[in-house]
């Protein structure tokens, strides 16, 4: 049985004017255990809405989302979230941010300290434990956010454009780091991005979403060993294929 199962999910938002808007329409897919699964699409295609449903922040209007067979009804530890703008608590230090979920899990103090130390090391932030988030760079903040999510030992890591606000060098570096962490910790990752290259570089499978209403049109399997060199012909070709396909869906089906 697939670990995550999304079945015929539709979501209606109410716009500011009070009109109902179909944000997602009959979205279905499954994600296997330990899979790195990306959802890629242009901004406004509903991918963040989909992630919010998976996180349990919102409920679907139709259809159902399941994890390990159980319905998703509220946020929880087994689905930790890494947000685009990090969402670190500004009033807590790096160590306190990472310990936040551990405290809520009511782990013994010594175990909390051990885990905080482990994840601080894993994301390469030794020596910064007592800093406040505002004292860190964007890349370092995102590492704290990843460490905080991993520390609660989630089965699934939900990542919402986590590297979108980083500069290109930091971004590529963080992608490599994420892959290393993923290979070491063996988590299921559901990764939302608008970057096709990023999705292909990282993922086992890439779901392609089209907007208005948000719908998953196609899921591509990336069959290539990691680390992937995005300048290799096979990768370039796959990326070009996805881009061409997405452009067709976006601009040739609707009048410009």
């Amino acid at each position: 049985m697939a670990q995550v199962s999304v079945k015929d999910v539709s979501k209606v938002h109410v716009s500011i004017k009070g009109e109902p808007v179909l944000a997602l329409h009959e979205v279905s897919f499954q994600v296997e255990n330990n899979e790195f699964f990306s959802i890629v699409g242009p901004s406004g295609c509903g991918k963040t809405t989909l992630l919010n449903l998976l996180a349990g922040f919102e409920r679907p209007t139709r259809g159902e989302l399941r994890v390990g067979g159980g319905l998703i009804t509220e946020p929880g530890w087994e689905r930790a979230v890494v947000f685009q703008e990090y969402a670190l608590f500004p009033w807590y230090t790096v160590a306190q941010n990472i310990a936040y979920g551990l405290k809520r899990k009511k782990l013994p103090e010594a175990e909390q300290r051990r885990l905080v130390d482990h994840y601080v090391g894993l994301v390469g932030l030794r020596g910064f434990e007592k800093r406040y988030p505002r004292e860190l760079s964007g890349g370092m903040r995102q590492r704290v956010s990843i460490a905080r999510a991993l520390a609660v030992d989630p089965a699934i890591l939900l990542m919402d454009e986590p590297f979108a606000s980083l500069d290109i060098q930091t971004r590529e570096f963080m992608q490599d780091e994420l892959l290393k962490i993923w290979q070491r910790e063996r988590k299921t990752v559901i990764f939302v991005t608008h970057s096709i290259d990023e999705a292909i570089k990282l993922s086992d499978r890439v779901a392609i979403m089209t907007p208005r209403p948000g719908h998953i049109e196609e899921i591509k399997t990336v069959d290539s060993a990691r680390p992937r060199d995005m300048t290799q012909p096979a990768m370039v070709q796959l990326a070009a294929e996805v881009k061409r396909w997405l452009r067709q869906q976006l601009f040739e089906s609707t009048p410009a």
Binding site: W77, A87, P90, W91, G127, R148
Partner: protein
């Protein structure tokens, strides 16, 4: 574009100094940074530089003095209409000598602190609750917005009926002035807490009380302190109204009393002291905010 420009790019493949990931600790880097800037000047010099910034204030006092003294020569009545700073100063000496000025100051401070303390104790929880629960906000909002425009002065007759004559009545008037800024800013604080922080808290297992104490409350603190600063300022401004009725002491009383005695030097002294002490109170409140929110500095 192409062609030999006579420049050869040399790539330094050694690890960059001091920037490698496992290079110097943050502590040793901050020591390095400190060694690169000149030491800060001694405290007395910094204080002197700060004082030099007050030139406009000094000029203001000098112009005031000259205007009053010269004006008095033209028209003797002017000494009553605008006594010079020196007259205000000797009024202060006079009242200190009679041992009453410090009592006025202490009693006014006590009344304002009691009133603003009460405004904080009631206003902060009420405002946070209104910001947190939109149902509660919708119920409270009309009531708050209906009472808010009523000036504290208008409450004086009723407050005398309710509290009689004494400190409580004085404090109630000051409380009314301070209460609404505290409520409204606390409400804005709880309302404006970043949705993503609330969601992060939820997904990390925080619920209800825990979520409120670890996310909503600290997230509201900057606005709460803004409310307390404004509330303290307006409460202090309401001092004269607060001590209008039957207060036996206080700076507001002093001003009201001097009015009946035609002592404009005492009136100005009261005004100057209210201004100076207001400045000090606001400074102290900002220090409390800094201590309460070490993570918020520099913004």
């Amino acid at each position: 574009m192409d062609g030999d420009l006579g420049v050869r790019l040399e790539v330094d493949t050694r690890a960059p100094r001091g920037t490698g990931r496992d290079a110097a600790s943050p502590e040793s880097l901050s020591r390095l940074a400190a060694s690169m800037v000149p030491p800060s000047p001694p405290a007395w010099r910094r204080a002197l530089v700060q004082l030099l910034h007050l030139w406009l204030l000094v000029l203001f006092v000098v112009v005031w003095e000259l205007a009053s003294v010269l004006g008095e020569r033209l028209n003797p009545q002017l000494s009553i209409m605008l006594p010079p700073p020196t007259a205000v100063f000797s009024a202060a000496q006079d009242l200190i000598g009679r041992g009453v000025l410090l009592t006025h100051i202490a009693d006014s401070l006590r009344r304002v602190l009691v009133a603003v303390g009460a405004a904080a104790a009631l206003g902060v929880p009420l405002g946070l609750a209104m910001g947190w629960s939109s149902a509660f906000r919708r119920a409270m909002d009309p009531l708050i917005e209906f009472i808010r425009p009523i000036p504290p002065l208008a409450w004086i007759p009723l407050s005398i009926l309710w509290f009689g004559i004494g400190d409580t009545q004085n404090e109630y008037i000051i409380f009314l002035a301070a209460f609404f800024p505290v409520v409204l800013n606390s409400m804005a604080g709880a309302r404006d807490v970043d949705t993503y922080l609330v969601r992060a808290g939820l997904s990390l297992g925080a619920r209800r009380r825990d979520l409120f104490l670890t996310v909503v409350l600290p997230g509201s603190l900057p606005n709460i302190f803004t409310g307390l600063r404004v509330g303290l300022g307006i409460g202090w401004m309401a001092l004269v109204a607060g001590e209008l009725v039957a207060a036996p002491t206080g700076l507001g009383y002093m001003i009201n009393n001097a009015r009946t005695l035609f002592r404009s030097d005492y009136i100005l002294l009261g005004m100057v002291l209210i201004g100076l002490l207001g400045l000090v109170l606001d400074f102290l409140m900002r220090q409390v905010a800094r201590l309460a929110m070490p993570w918020y500095q520099g913004r």
